[in-house]
Amino acid sequence: MAKKKFMLGFSPELVNEAIVYRLVKDYDLKINILRAEVKELGGRLLMEVDGKASNIKDAAKYLNECKVDVQELANYVEKNEERCTHCGVCISICPVEALTMERPTWMVRYDPEKCIACGMCIDACPPGAMKFRI
């Protein structure tokens, strides 16, 4: 079993496709939608997928065939250790506790595995240590 996070980008004509349904039904994936946006230029869906590694791979292939832009979100948000002062401002902001205060060292640890790339910490971090990659 594997757990991965993907950002899916749709063109407007794909917005009505039952993509999530197909992923669940045909590829036996457990899907947790973390963020969804639909705009004039299409939509974006941030999701966590849980399932057999081979099924995840096939599902990604199916999505590519449907012309969905699939991006795996590994380390989408980065913490710059040089800039971080370990204040802890971010720890009450992060909705999934990807940023936590380690005791008794009082160092703030970032777990990219848990991060859902919501961006909440980015404008909250005073020295600018949290940044979106790209």
Binding site: T85, C87, V89, S92, I93, A124, P127
Partner: protein, 388 residues
């Protein structure tokens, strides 16, 4: 038991001074008792590292050929105050770079200089007979300037209110990002390690006290702005913003590890600064004061959605509760965040301990005491007559 600063300095010289941090001394006093601890320990070091908006630097650039009396000065496009002598300027931490929505400000100029980076200096002038030049565009660095020292009107607040937000929208404040409907609480104090919480009546800290400032050796210059003594206390320690210090120190000896520019979204720039103060253990009372722990230090929680200077505290919470990561507000658990770094506060107290043990840092007696009785006034829209 009585001990003088002179005796402590002799022990520093002899290499047998006993120093502990304000954190280490807590369990020591708990196990040994105040009397024994006061006998054994000469100095307790404190530390804090947090946002201190009232900070800035005096700079002297040196004279150009032909000379200029600078009237408008920018450093990396951040305006500096030049209404003093010809090539002197003051750059404040919260001054923003010209242009819209900049996240760069005076604090960043200060951090860049301390990190050894060159900074672009632009100045203009109307020109005078003795200072004919009308503009200059060049680069300066800590090495090129004659003087560069932080002179901060308000640092190291004794204590400070924690912030929360009852409104329906996220607030961006100098206390950080406050999530809607009491979504979080932010606070800003090193608590048990904080300098002025360990000497609550400022018995040993006064004008001229030698301190750790941004990595360098600095001094207490004056009472800080908005210094006040009439704040409610618990266990003899103020429960809100009370005393604070005006500090001074040479930027050349500072380190970016302890001077860090911050940008608080929706508020602006500010400077995070590391300050450490050694407390001489003159007697048992002093030992008792420095052994205070987070359980006995309190801060009020105030609602920043109330846009008034009279924000009534929602409740008082201890730093032990704040530091646990969660406090209870209206029967609900709310997550807490610190704006100041406890890790850095601890490092500062440790570095200061080492410097004292190595004989690199000796203690001072205040040249003059800070006010024992001071209240804080407000600003009203008033007539000329009423202002007197």
């Amino acid at each position: 038991m009585k001990r003088t600063v002179a005796e402590i300095n002799q022990r520093i010289k002899d290499g047998d001074v006993v120093v502990m941090t304000a954190e280490e001394v807590i369990p020591y006093v708990q196990s040994e008792g105040v009397e024994r601890a006061a006998k054994e320990v000469d100095v307790v070091t404190t530390g804090t590292f947090g946002a201190m908006c009232s900070s800035g630097a005096f700079l002297n650039f040196g004279h150009s050929e032909p000379p200029i009396r600078m009237q408008r000065v920018t450093l990396n496009d951040v305006p500096a105050y030049a209404g003093i002598a010809a090539v002197d300027a003051y750059i404040g931490a919260t001054e923003l770079k010209q242009g819209d929505h900049s996240e760069y400000g005076g604090a960043h100029v200060i951090e860049d200089l301390i990190a050894g980076k060159p900074v672009r200096l632009k100045a203009t002038s109307n020109g005078t007979d003795c200072y004919p030049r009308k503009d200059i565009d060049t680069y300066v660095s800590l090495n090129s300037m004659n003087q560069a020292y932080l002179f901060n009107p308000r640092n190291a607040y004794q204590n400070y209110a924690a912030g929360t937000n009852s409104s329906e929208r996220t607030l961006f404040t100098y206390m950080g990002k406050l999530l809607p409907s009491y979504g979080n609480v932010t606070y800003s104090s090193a608590g048990q390690l904080s300098p002025l919480l360990n000497d609550p009546t400022m018995r040993t800290i006064g004008i001229g006290t030698r301190i750790f400032l941004g990595g360098a050796t600095g001094y207490v210059a004056w009472e800080g702005t908005q210094f006040r003594t009439n704040v409610e206390t618990s266990f003899g320690v103020p429960m809100g913003a009370a005393r604070n210090l005006a500090t001074i120190g040479d930027m050349r000896d500072m380190s970016p590890d302890f001077v860090r520019a911050l940008y608080l979204h929706g508020y602006g720039t500010t400077l995070a600064l590391g300050i450490g103060i050694p407390i001489p253990i003159l007697d048992e009372d002093m030992m008792k004061a420095v052994s205070v722990s987070d359980e006995h230090l309190f801060a009020p929680v105030v609602d920043y959605s109330v846009q008034s200077r009279n924000r009534r505290p929602i409740k008082q919470v201890s730093y032990a509760e704040l530091r646990s990561g969660r406090i209870e507000l209206f029967g609900k658990e709310v997550r807490t965040s610190s704006l100041s770094s406890y890790l850095k506060a601890r490092q500062i107290a440790e570095v200061l301990s080492e410097r004292i043990e190595n004989g690199e840092f000796t203690l001072t007696e205040p040249v003059a005491p800070l006010p024992q009785d001071r209240s804080q006034g407000t600003l009203e829209v008033r007539s000329k007559e009423d202002a007197i």
